[in-house]
């Protein structure tokens, strides 16, 4: 049985004009899988997640969680899922333990308080008020609230957004620990590093639709190209047709090019074997009379996948 399935999910918010937040989205998440929904702000990630969590009703489409649907078996599903919302402000005056005890009381069975506190590594903050915690610690309390009912599925909406690098690492540790315990996890993110590091499989979502699906490695191989050469030049622009014919340039097209404000040209090439491409590339630049301002070789990332798929960056707002 798949843990989560949704088919042709549509959510349109009424208004003038209506907002089509989700437009026919299909997902299937297997048991024990850590699945990521990757997309820029406004792509419809939160809306999708909240529909799956039973917090919003879809305009149309079919949703199954643990083989059950929300209309019939809502109460049962709620006992078996744990969630973090994109934004929740827990009550500042309560302590960590008190907050968890409240959440624990809603579930028929679940973890002991100490166990849930230990998983998120907040033993030393057990009796501290929420108001005294850092952003990262608050997020870990939110995670503990999600898992105190010992759920089968965890829904995490942007679990590390807005946190400092160290706190993000700590949140990732928790998610990894949960993966090890065999939990099914569905998370959303607009960070490619988070998606790459945590997720077994990813759906890249834009404008309320899945535009690519696969493991991070597959996606990068398929859409990002293996390696990228970023070339910056000034002066006359090198001829792109000639560059594309150089040895080792794959995919037959550049990912992007643009003319920066300072007058330099930036060109990103997808290449299989950078060491074969670079010498003739440099010769070509020299021949065209341009000057070299920068040359950079790196591995493709999910950011490049998104760029290749949409022509936009992940961190850009959905237009």
């Amino acid at each position: 049985m798949e843990a989560i399935v949704c088919q042709n999910l549509v959510k349109t918010f009424p208004g003038k004009p209506p907002v089509e937040a989700v437009r026919g989205l299909d997902l299937g998440v297997g048991m024990g899988e850590c699945f990521g929904i990757l997309g820029p702000n406004g792509a419809g990630k939160t809306t999708t997640l909240e529909i799956l969590e039973g917090l919003q009703d879809p305009t149309s489409g079919d949703v199954r969680v643990l083989g059950k649907n929300w209309e019939m078996d809502g109460a049962e599903i709620r006992q078996r899922i744990g969630i973090t919302l994109q934004e929740t402000r827990l009550s500042e005056k309560q302590t960590v333990a008190e907050t968890l005890e409240l959440f624990r009381s809603f579930y028929n069975r679940g973890l002991t308080l100490d166990a849930s506190i230990a998983i998120v590594g907040l033993e030393s903050k057990r009796d501290s008020r929420i108001s005294t915690l850092s952003g990262g610690q608050k997020q870990r309390v939110a995670l503990a609230c999600a898992l105190v009912g010992d759920p089968d599925i965890l829904f995490l909406d942007e679990p590390s957004t807005g946190l400092d690098p160290q706190s993000r690492q700590q949140v990732w540790e928790v998610v990894r620990a949960l993966k090890l315990r065999g939990k099914t996890i569905l998370l959303t993110t607009h960070y490619m590093d988070e998606a790459e590091k945590l997720c077994d499989r990813l759906a890249v979502v834009d404008h309320g639709k899945v535009i690519a699906l696969g493991t991070p490695v597959e996606l990068i191989r398929q859409w990002g190209g293996g390696n990228l050469i970023e070339l910056g030049t000034f002066g006359p622009e090198p001829r792109r047709e000639e560059i594309l014919q150089l040895p080792g340039v794959s995919g037959a097209k550049s990912v992007t090019d643009s003319r920066a404000a300072d007058g330099t040209n930036h060109l990103v090439l997808r290449v299989d074997r950078p060491h074969e491409t670079i010498p003739p590339l440099l010769a070509l630049v020299e021949k065209s009379g341009a000057g070299l301002s920068s040359l950079n070789v790196r591995q493709a990332t999910l950011e490049d996948v998104f760029l290749a798929l949409t022509g936009r960056n992940l961190r850009d707002e959905t237009p």
Binding site: T88, S91, F106, Y107, R109, A118, A177
Partner: protein, 373 residues
């Protein structure tokens, strides 16, 4: 990390309702400002207004003299003279309706009504200073009589069978002082504010913080949630009432003339009514601004119209039916009835019905409109 240790699972949860109530209580008592506004502020108001309108201190006893004998005769002059001489007495001459009004309001401790053939001392039996004034006035008049007798002045008005000519009339203008009027008003105001804040503001706060949505995603029962707000509120309320009434009793000698059970029922009706209205106010609001606006819109007219600080009778007759139908008017009237006049259910049931009517309508509407997520 030791996973085995963390797999510790148990299945004996705490009562969710109790946990929700505990959370409410902690939220409240850990917020010193809230404690002041809920518990301290009404006392400050009571002290400020109660002392501002309080009877003068007893060094000079306010006594009013009225003439009920048609034209002022010798008895009138004699009474004025003897009482006016006494330094303990602050004597004023008033017409009789004004005098009884001042007695009711506690502005005067005693009214001496001069009739053609004797004096009537009108006292307020519930008020210690009234008894004190009676003693002082009687002593003064007795001394005059004794002095007159020794001088052999037969025309002394209060000489001779003075005791037959002085009659004492106890009025039952119970709870007639301003502070007696004020305390039930403050109680009503507190019930209204408490209900609207305790359910209205608190709910919207949870909604704005997305905590309501988070709770709804758990198996928490919505009935538990609403009941926890109500029960938490009732707990705070009990404390508020005891503090306010206890204080009023100790500091101002305000006592409850009706039965405590009737008072409890009245308070319960008021609490339930304003909690339901609080829930209605909170049913759709998604911002602090919206809920504050709605709460003010609800409360301000009632502060003014419903007789918290002054009687609502002062408003024109045409708007009276409207004012009487307001829940706070009904609550204040019932509270004043029970506390000041000793009214029973027979006298106040109409107002209680108004309160329960508002409660039922607001609750039904609130549940229909309520935005849980």
């Amino acid at each position: 990390m030791n996973l085995d240790e963390q797999l510790e699972v148990n299945s004996s949860p705490q009562s969710p309702m109790w946990q929700l109530i505990l959370a409410r209580v902690r939220d409240f008592y850990r917020e010193p400002a809230a404690i002041f506004w809920v518990y301290g502020f009404p006392l400050v108001l009571a002290v400020a207004l109660g002392t501002a309108f309080r009877d003068r201190p007893v060094e000079r006893i306010p006594v009013a003299v009225t003439n009920a004998a048609g034209s002022p005769g010798p008895l009138w002059a004699e009474t004025l003279e003897s009482l006016g001489k006494d330094p303990r007495i602050e004597l004023r001459i008033l017409d009789s309706s004004q005098a009884s009004k001042e007695l009711a309001l506690g502005k005067t401790a005693l009214v001496v009504e001069v009739e053609s053939a004797g004096l009537v001392l009108k006292t307020e039996k519930n008020r210690p200073e009234s008894a004190l004034a009676q003693g002082v006035v009687e002593a003064v008049l007795w001394k005059t009589k004794a002095g007159s007798a020794s001088q052999g002045s037969g025309s002394a008005p209060v000489s001779g069978k003075a005791e037959n000519r002085i009659r004492v009339e106890e009025t039952a203008e119970t709870g007639g002082r301003y502070i007696d009027f004020l305390i039930p008003g403050l109680l009503g105001m507190n019930l209204m504010g408490g209900g609207l804040w305790g359910l209205g503001y608190v709910t919207v706060d949870l909604r704005v913080r997305k905590l309501l949505k988070r709770l709804i995603a758990t198996p928490m029962s919505r009935v538990d949630f609403l009941l926890s707000l109500v029960l938490g509120r009732m707990g705070f309320l009990l404390l508020e009432i005891m503090i306010l009434l206890g204080f009023a009793w100790l500091a101002f000698d305000v006592s409850i003339h009706g039965s405590v059970a009737t008072l409890a029922l009245t308070i319960l009706a008021g609490a339930v009514c304003f909690q339901a209205i609080g829930l209605l106010v909170a049913s759709r609001a998604t911002s602090y601004e919206a809920v504050s606006g709605l709460m003010n819109l609800t409360m301000l007219p009632m502060y003014v119209l419903s007789g918290v600080f002054f009687s609502s009778d002062r408003f024109p007759q045409v708007v009276q039916p409207l004012i009487q139908a307001l829940p706070l008017t009904a609550l204040n009237a019932s509270l004043r009835g029970v506390i000041n006049e000793g009214s029973g259910l027979a006298e106040i049931y109409g107002n209680l019905l108004i309160l329960f009517g508002w409660a039922a309508a607001a609750f039904v509407l609130a549940l229909r409109l309520f935005r849980w997520r």
